[in-house]
């Protein structure tokens, strides 16, 4: 088991490493970049920038570096670039790459050069921003390029995590609380009316374009309710601070703008939208798993012992049927995390997913890379936890 864990952990590091390289490379070779469009406007003298300015900006963003140095700079920082260049004798194409001093220190950002190409002896309060980038291994995701120019990506991400976590926790808990009983009941009463409703609902859930469902929710509960004079739901955002709209649900229930109740009201529609998907999937899965378990010998034994049907179902069958559900949910958690992209876009909900879409639309690669990196880590960790859970809940499974 220990051997297996160590091997898997190493594999995980490799997967994250390879995927960052792949994504980074794709981003580099892609047409268009943060400086795209600058100085290219034909005929408009004002917006044009000189070559020197362009070079300065490229150096600021680290775009003058050759591809491998860009990746390394992103991954492990830039404070070592100068020294490594000296050791290697500063190879490179002097015409295009090295235009100031002719050494690799040109590849460092201006702030880093001013600090002498090192972070040594530099102390800052927040412990994150230093003159030289330290790379994602030390949780330095760099600065945002265009969504919030000059801000640390990690700060921006930190602002966006709480709304997303609030949304996802609500969705997961709600889906589980509803899906498990529904799955159990529809399996116990197979082919009953309820069972047909659940299976049909499951099919609708997997076939539903969720963003469309979200739009319909907004149109019905936001727009039509407002037109009809009913207390309507807010169609986006996390709160209505500083003022709630007249006739809205918060107004109707006398909820203060910016209070916990206000946040809760804003969560309702996005939660319904996202819950539909997982509720459908998980109740289907729970039903299938329960049907499987009910056929087992130990359930028949329990019944033969004369236990009450309730006890048989909840103590013997349901608990065993939960095992595959739990593992599948663990595997799905990163997917839920990235699935929030659609929900947050539809409801203009300022979470991680929305940030990711904004950053993609504006070529803000540090944010894109940061998001994908965190996502990749989540995926491998969830996969590992899921695998380990298998062995804990079902000791018959052994990994060699």
């Amino acid at each position: 088991m220990t051997n297996y864990l160590i091997r898997r952990a190493l594999q995980m590091v490799l997967v994250v490493f390879v995927s960052t390289i792949v994504i980074y490379t794709i981003l580099q070779i892609a047409p268009g970049g943060p400086l795209d469009g600058l100085g290219r406007q034909n005929g408009d003298q004002k917006s044009e920038i000189s070559d020197a300015q362009r070079q300065r900006m490229e150096q600021n963003l680290g775009l003058n570096r050759p591809g491998y140095l860009r990746y390394l700079g992103w991954a492990v920082g830039e404070y070592w670039i100068d020294e490594l260049g000296d050791i290697l004798g500063n190879p490179g194409d002097p015409e295009t790459q090295l235009f100031i001093t002719g050494t690799w220190s040109d590849y460092q950002s201006p702030t880093c050069q001013e600090a002498g190409g090192t972070n040594a002896g530099f102390v800052v309060a927040d412990g994150l921003s230093r003159p030289c980038a330290r790379g994602i291994v030390l949780f330095d995701f760099g600065e945002s390029w265009s969504v919030a120019p000059g801000r640390q990506v990690i700060d921006i991400l930190a602002d966006r995590v709480p709304p997303t976590v609030r949304l996802l926790t609500t969705v997961v808990i709600l889906s589980l609380v509803v899906a498990i009983p529904i799955g159990i009941i529809s399996a116990v009463r197979q082919y009953s009316v309820l069972d047909y409703i659940v299976t049909t609902f499951g099919f609708f859930g997997i076939s539903m374009p969720v963003f469309w469902f979200g739009l319909m929710l907004i149109i019905l509960f936001g727009q039509k309710f407002r037109e009809l004079g009913l207390p309507f739901f807010p169609s986006g955002g996390t709160n209505s601070f500083p003022r709630v709209a007249r006739g809205s649900l918060q107004d109707f229930l006398a909820i203060d703008p910016g209070s916990a109740g206000d946040y809760a009201v804003h969560l309702v529609l996005p939660t319904i939208m996202l819950t539909l998907v997982y509720l459908a999937g998980w109740s289907r899965f729970m039903r299938a798993s329960m049907l499987e378990v009910l056929r087992q010998d130990y359930v028949r034994t329990a019944r033969a012992k004369g236990l009450r049907e309730r006890t048989v179902i909840y103590r013997h069958a349901a608990r065993n049927a939960l095992i595959p559900l739990i593992t599948i949910i663990v595997f799905q958690i990163p997917g839920i995390f990235s699935g929030a992209v659609l929900t947050e876009s539809v409801f203009s909900y300022p979470g991680m997913g929305r940030l990711f879409i904004d950053a993609l639309g504006r070529n803000d690669w540090p944010i894109v890379m940061g998001f994908l990196y965190i996502n990749a880590i989540l995926v491998v960790i969830a996969t590992l936890i899921g695998d380990v859970l298998y062995t804990i809940v079902d000791p018959r499974i052994r990994f060699e």
């Binding site: 997967v15 390879v18 995927s19 994504i23 794709i26 981003l27 892609a30 047409p31 268009g32 099919f203 609708f204 997997i206 076939s207 539903m208 374009p209 969720v210 963003f211 469309w212 469902f213 739009l215 319909m216 907004i218 149109i219 936001g222 727009q223 169609s235 990163p334 997917g335 990235s338 699935g339 992209v341 659609l342 876009s345 539809v346 203009s348 990711f356 879409i357 993609l360 639309g361 894109v368 998001f371 994908l372 996502n375 990749a376 989540l378 995926v379 491998v380 996969t383």
Partner: protein, 326 residues
């Protein structure tokens, strides 16, 4: 030396006259018909396909009164009519018009062509690729299997939606020479979706082939001197087709959803080219205008098509291979 002439045909007639075995396809069809919802889905899909193929053909021959141009013009995807924007259903525009006064029904049908073409292409490419790769992996085993399986795991582990969005966003600027813009965009989307969609077929066909490989008929073929590729092509792959067809049918629904989500977010096919996804694109900003009329029908078509594929897949699973559990 006279040999009694044997009337081969008469003997065959005798044999088959007793009980002519039913063609396999007929059996499948009968079993599928038992699944009421799958049958309904099949006819629904046929209707949708006919509608998107012939609908625009017929409709483009018809004319309507374009208030902006002040004359009767043929229906088309891009003809705008700024005096009849965001209209509700009427005789001239059965499903209303959008914010530029374009006919929603016509756009809906032409969008369906593209959405369905993309879905079929993606599934065809990814299932074929997955089938082949899984076949090789399962048949040869050993290090080939290891390499292919690690690679599959790697692709499975990748967070698919963010990666799709990233790749789609950075390929937005690409233009394939000598091709219309909509075809360039479609090809890019097809390639991207296919790249992440083959893993299911790969695992499925590998598992099937692992169990088939050591059965007697494979042994016999090898003894008869068939090459590895012949055995894979003639015996292994045909035997794995049933689950792959089911997987592909279920996959079609999924691809339609993903493609429409990409287009909805603005990273798929861009306007003025219409797909079901991008017709929903700016509904949010247009909520006060024709929000409902614009939003309802494209989404309804996505839901219906995807639901029909899922039910059909479910029915096919029962029809093609009753033992199969996906």
């Amino acid at each position: 030396m006279s040999v009694a002439k044997i009337d081969v045909e008469a003997i065959q007639d005798d044999v088959f006259a007793i009980e002519k075995p039913e063609a396999l396809l007929v059996t499948y069809w009968k079993r599928l018909r038992r699944h009421a919802l799958a049958t309904v889905s099949l006819f629904t899909l046929a209707a949708i396909v006919l509608l998107v193929i012939f609908g625009p053909m017929i409709m483009s021959q018809l004319t309507y009164y374009n208030a902006d141009q002040g004359e009767y013009v043929n229906y088309s995807r891009d003809t705008i009519d700024l005096l009849t924007t965001r209209a509700g259903p009427s005789l001239e525009h059965p499903l209303g018009t959008d914010e530029l006064g374009r006919d929603t029904l016509f756009r809906l049908m032409i969008a369906g062509r593209l959405s369905l073409t993309i879905a079929f292409s993606v599934v065809l490419i990814s299932e074929t690729f997955g089938l082949f790769l899984g076949g090789v992996s399962g048949y040869f085993g050993g290090w080939v299997d290891s390499v292919i399986q690690r690679f599959t795991e790697f692709v499975v582990v990748l967070p698919s939606l963010p990666i799709l969005l990233t790749v789609a966003s950075i390929t937005r600027g690409i233009q394939i020479p000598f091709l219309a813009e909509e075809w360039t965009q479609s090809i890019i989307i097809i390639v991207i979706l296919s790249m992440l969609n083959w893993t299911g077929a790969c695992r499925l066909s590998r598992a099937m082939i692992l169990s088939l490989r050591n059965q007697e008929f494979a042994e016999a073929s090898r003894a008869l001197g068939m090459s590895n590729m012949q055995i894979i092509g003639r015996h292994m792959i045909p035997n794995t087709l049933a689950p792959i067809i089911v997987n592909a049918t279920l996959g079609l629904g999924g691809v339609i959803l993903v493609e429409s989500a990409l287009s909805f977010l603005g990273f798929g096919i861009n306007p003025p080219v219409a797909t079901w996804g991008n017709m929903l694109q700016d509904v949010q900003s247009d909520m006060l205008g024709a929000g409902f009329w614009k939003a309802f029908f494209p989404g309804f078509f996505i839901l219906t098509t995807s639901l029909a594929f899922n039910y059909l897949g479910d029915g096919l699973r029962d029809a093609l291979d009753p033992r199969l559990k996906l």
